[in-house]
C-alpha cells in the first residue's frame, strides 16, 4: 500500500514508519506543523510543535530512507483542538485534547488528505492494535498495558480504522527504544512527551488562566453556603482536595473535595468524599469503533482516563446516550471526560460524559 507516516519527531512514530517500510509499504513521511508560529506552544525538546521536532522527524525519515514533507495543519489544530479545549473548560467540562487531535486532525484532516492524494492510509506510532475478523477491522488494546493508547483512539470510526496502521501495538515501549537504537534512529533516547503539547510549561491551570481570565467566584458547600473564594473555576478538577484554601471547617471535620464546577455562576461546589462516588456514566456524541450496540445491556469494561483502569460494567446505548453501569462506584468523574467501552480488549466505542449518578 501507499501510506503516509505521521512523524512527530519522537521515537514511536519513527519506528512505526520504519516498520511500515519493512512490511513492504510505499511510505512517505509527513510532519504535522501544528502551531503557525512553531514555537508558540512549546519550547524545548518535548512535545510535537517545535522546529527541533520537525528536524528530528526529518532526520528519522532520512535514516529510514523515505521522502519527507511538512504539512501545515496549524489552522485545523487551533480550531479543532485548542479552541475546543478552551471552550470545554469554559463550559466547566474536562476535555482530553489528544482524543480531539486524533478525531479531527490525524485520522480526519490527514487521512482524508492522504486518500484524496491517492494514498491508502496513515501509519502512526500509537500503541494500539487492529485485527481483521468477522465484524471487519477492529481496534484493540496494545500489548504494553502501560503504553496502551487505544483510549485516545476510541474516536475513530470503522472507516478511519480501515485507513489506520499501528505497527507498535504488539511491542513494549522498552523494546521500541532498543529497536530504534538498533535502527540507528537518533531519537531512540528522546524523552516521551506526557503533557499537553500546546501547553508549553506543563502548567495547565496557568495556561487556562491566561486565556480564560481569573475571575474570583464563590466556593460553596452542597447546601449553597459560601465557604470560600476561588480564582477561576476552570482551574479546579472534580475530586480535587488540595489547594482549595478553605478556612471554615466542615461540620464533622472531614476533608472536602470539589464536586461540581458551575461555569455560568462561576461557582465551585465542594463536599464530602462519598458524594463524589458515581456508578452510572452517561455519554453523548457516541462514536462506534465497530458495530453499534443497542439497548440490550452487555458486560464489558469502561475506561474514563487515558491510563485509567478498566472498570467492570454493563453497557448499552439508550438511543441517544452511551451508558455504563459500573459494578463498583468510582470517584471524581468530570463531564467532558471520554467514556470508552471495551469488549475484552476490543474498543467498542466512546462518548463524552455529560451526566453521572
Amino acid at each position: 500500500m501507499k501510506i503516509i507516516a505521521a512523524m512527530s519527531g519522537g521515537v514511536d512514530s519513527a519506528v512505526a514508519a520504519a516498520r511500515a517500510v519493512e512490511a513492504g509499504h510505499e511510505v512517505i513521511g509527513v510532519h504535522l506543523a501544528l502551531a503557525s508560529n512553531p514555537q508558540k506552544y512549546r519550547s524545548g525538546a518535548r512535545g510535537c510543535c517545535t522546529i527541533e521536532d520537525s528536524h528530528d522527524a526529518r532526520r528519522a525519515a532520512d535514516k529510514i530512507g523515505i521522502p519527507f514533507y511538512i504539512w501545515d495543519m496549524a489552522e485545523e489544530f487551533h480550531e479543532g483542538v485548542v479552541e475546543n479545549f478552551l471552550a470545554e473548560y469554559a463550559a466547566g467540562r474536562t476535555p482530553n485534547p489528544c482524543l480531539r487531535c486524533n478525531e479531527k486532525i490525524k485520522f480526519a484532516a490527514v487521512l482524508d488528505r492522504a486518500k484524496a492524494m491517492g494514498f491508502d492510509g496513515v501509519v502512526t506510532g500509537h500503541y494500539a492494535r487492529t485485527q481483521i475478523g468477522p465484524i471487519g477491522k477492529t481496534l484493540h488494546r496494545a500489548v504494553d498495558p502501560l503504553k496502551d493508547q487505544s483510549y485516545v483512539l476510541a474516536v475513530l470510526t470503522t472507516e478511519q480504522i480501515n485507513g489506520a496502521i499501528f505497527p507498535l501495538g504488539d511491542t513494549e515501549k522498552v523494546d521500541i527504544r532498543i529497536e530504534a537504537e538498533a535502527r540507528g534512529l537518533a531519537v531512540a533516547q528522546k524523552p516521551d512527551s506526557h503533557d499537553i503539547c500546546f501547553v508549553p510549561s506543563g502548567d495547565n491551570a496557568g495556561w487556562l488562566r491566561d486565556r480564560l481570565g481569573s475571575e474570583v467566584g464563590p466556593i460553596v458547600d452542597n447546601t449553597g453556603n459560601k465557604i470560600g473564594e476561588h480564582k477561576g473555576a476552570y482551574t479546579y478538577t472534580i475530586g480535587q482536595r488540595k489547594g482549595l484554601g478553605l478556612t471554615i471547617p466542615a461540620a464533622d471535620g472531614s476533608p472536602r473535595f470539589v464536586l461540581k464546577i458551575e461555569p455560568v455562576t462561576n461557582t465551585v461546589v465542594v463536599g464530602a468524599r462519598e458524594e463524589l462516588a458515581v456508578s452510572k456514566l452517561m455519554g453523548e456524541k457516541t462514536i462506534w469503533c465497530g458495530p453499534p450496540v443497542d439497548e440490550k445491556p452487555r458486560r464489558g469494561f469502561a475506561q474514563v482516563r487515558a491510563h485509567g483502569a478498566a472498570l467492570d460494567c454493563s453497557y448499552y446505548f439508550s438511543g441517544t446516550q452511551l451508558v455504563a453501569e459500573l459494578d463498583k462506584p468510582l470517584l471524581g468523574i468530570a463531564n467532558g471526560q471520554a467514556l470508552v467501552i471495551y469488549d475484552g480488549d476490543r474498543v467498542v466505542g466512546s462518548a463524552t460524559i455529560c451526566e453521572s449518578a
Binding site: 503557525s36 512553531p38 522546529i51 520537525s54 526529518r58 496549524a74 484524496a116 492524494m117 491517492g118
Partner: protein
C-alpha cells in the same frame, strides 16, 4: 525517469567547473602568501577574476569574491547604508530575502526607513512610483535596490531606467538569477553594485561575488585579513573561485534552447491544465522560469505529488520549520493568500531536455486532479 525542474534553486555543476575545482583542490598555496605556491594560487584566482569580469562586463578590480549571493547582497545593502548619511532605503516589493531581510534589519536596528516599490500584475516595478518618490524624497534616499530578475517568476526588471531615475543615488541589483541567462552588463546598466552566485550558473555552492564600482569603498561586513579590497576578509576560496569562473565563462547555457523548452512546457500546460495560468506571462522573463498558479490546489500537495512522480519543482518560500508560506512576490503581484499558495515554480536549466518537459506535462493532469481533491478536504 526522474526530472529536475528546479534549476532556479540550484543547477547541476558543469563538468568544466568540477575539473577546475578538483585540480585546484589538490594544489597548495594561500593566494595571499608571497612564495611560489601562494603566487601560483593567486594567479589562478586573478585569472578567474578576469573571466568573471569579462562575463559580467566589469573591471577585474570590481569583482569582490564572497561566500554566497546572500553575502554579496548583505554586504551591498548594509555597506551602502552605512556609507551614507541618509536613512531611507528603497527596494522593490519582490526582492529576495537576501535583500529584504538586511533592509528590514536596518530598520529595526539602525533607524532606517524602508519603502517598497510596488509591482504591476506582471511583476514589473512601477517606475512612475519610483520617479515620484525620488522627486519628493530623493535627498533622503541612502540606496535603491531592485533585483535584475525575480527568482520566483523570472520577470526581468528595468534596471537601466531605475539607474536613470536614481541619478546620484547608489543602486544595487541582485543579478543572481540573471547571470548567464539573459544579457547582463554591469557597465551598461550603470549600477553601483551587483550580486552574483556560482551555483546558479553551473558553479559550486558557497561562492558568490559582489561587483562594486572601482574605488567605491563601503564599510565591511567581515573584518580580518582584508583580502578583497578590505571589504571582504577571509582566505580566498581558490578552488570554488576557479570553478565559478569556469562555469561562468563556459557558455554551456544556451538561452534560446532553454526558452524553446519553456515555451513547449507552457504550450503543453495550456492544453493539459487549461485553468492554470502563468505568472508574469506578459512581461519579459528569464528563459527558464515558469511560475504557474493551479486554482483550487495547494502547492505543498502538488509538490509532494510531483515529487512522488519523480518531478522536482518548487513551491517558493517556506518558514524555518519547513511550513509553506504564501510568496510575498505573488502577493505583491495581486494574488491573495489562497492563490499565492496554489502556485508552483518550474525552472529549466542547461541540461533540461524535451523529454523532461514532456514527462512533467504527462504527470500534471493526475497530480492536479489529486491536488484538487486534497484541497476539498
Amino acid at each position: 525517469m526522474s526530472v529536475y525542474l528546479d534549476h532556479a534553486a540550484t543547477t547541476p555543476i558543469f563538468d568544466v567547473a568540477v575539473k577546475a575545482m578538483t585540480d585546484a583542490l589538490t594544489k597548495v598555496g594561500n593566494p595571499s602568501s608571497l612564495h611560489t605556491e601562494g603566487r601560483s594560487t593567486r594567479k589562478d584566482v586573478e585569472d578567474a577574476r578576469d573571466l568573471i569580469a569579462k562575463a559580467v562586463g566589469c573591471l577585474a578590480s570590481e569583482v569582490i569574491f564572497t561566500g554566497s549571493g546572500t553575502e554579496a547582497d548583505n554586504a551591498a545593502i548594509k555597506g551602502l547604508f552605512w556609507k551614507s548619511d541618509k536613512k531611507l532605503i528603497v527596494i522593490s516589493a519582490i526582492e529576495h530575502h537576501a535583500v529584504l531581510d538586511p533592509a528590514r534589519w536596518l530598520v529595526e536596528h539602525e533607524g532606517a526607513e524602508l519603502i517598497e516599490i510596488p509591482v504591476n500584475k506582471n511583476g514589473v516595478i512601477d517606475l512612475d512610483y519610483l520617479k515620484d518618490l525620488v522627486a519628493k524624497r530623493g535627498f533622503e534616499i541612502a540606496l535603491i535596490s531592485v533585483m535584475h530578475s525575480n527568482n520566483e517568476t523570472g520577470v526581468i526588471q528595468p534596471i537601466a531606467e531605475v539607474v536613470k531615475i536614481a541619478g546620484s543615488i547608489p543602486v544595487h541589483t541582485d543579478a543572481v538569477q540573471s547571470f548567464t541567462k539573459t544579457p547582463l552588463s554591469y557597465k551598461d546598466l550603470g549600477v553601483t553594485s551587483m550580486a552574483l552566485s556560482a551555483h546558479k550558473v553551473g558553479g559550486p555552492h558557497g561562492i558568490g561575488a559582489l561587483i562594486l564600482q572601482r574605488a567605491y569603498e563601503i564599510p565591511a561586513l567581515l573584518h580580518g585579513g582584508g583580502q578583497e579590497r578590505e571589504i571582504r576578509s577571509g582566505t580566498l576560496n581558490a578552488p570554488a573561485i576557479v570553478a565559478f569562473a569556469a562555469a561562468a565563462a563556459s557558455k554551456i547555457y544556451e538561452a534560446s534552447k532553454v526558452q524553446e523548452l519553456r515555451e513547449r512546457f507552457e504550450a503543453g500546460l495550456r492544453s493539459s491544465a487549461p485553468s492554470a495560468y502563468i505568472n508574469g506571462v506578459d512581461a519579459k522573463r528569464l528563459p527558464g522560469i515558469s511560475n504557474v498558479t493551479f486554482p483550487g490546489t495547494q502547492s505543498d500537495s502538488l509538490l509532494l505529488l510531483m515529487d512522488s512522480e519523480k518531478v522536482s519543482c518548487s513551491t517558493g518560500a517556506a518558514c524555518s520549520a519547513g511550513v509553506h508560506r504564501p510568496s510575498h512576490v505573488l502577493l505583491a503581484m495581486g494574488h491573495n493568500e489562497i492563490s499565492a499558495q496554489s502556485s508552483l515554480r518550474f525552472s529549466l536549466g542547461a541540461n533540461s531536455t524535451q523529454a523532461d518537459v514532456d514527462f512533467a506535462l504527462s504527470v500534471l493532469p493526475t497530480v492536479i486532479e489529486r491536488g484538487r481533491a486534497a484541497n476539498q478536504i
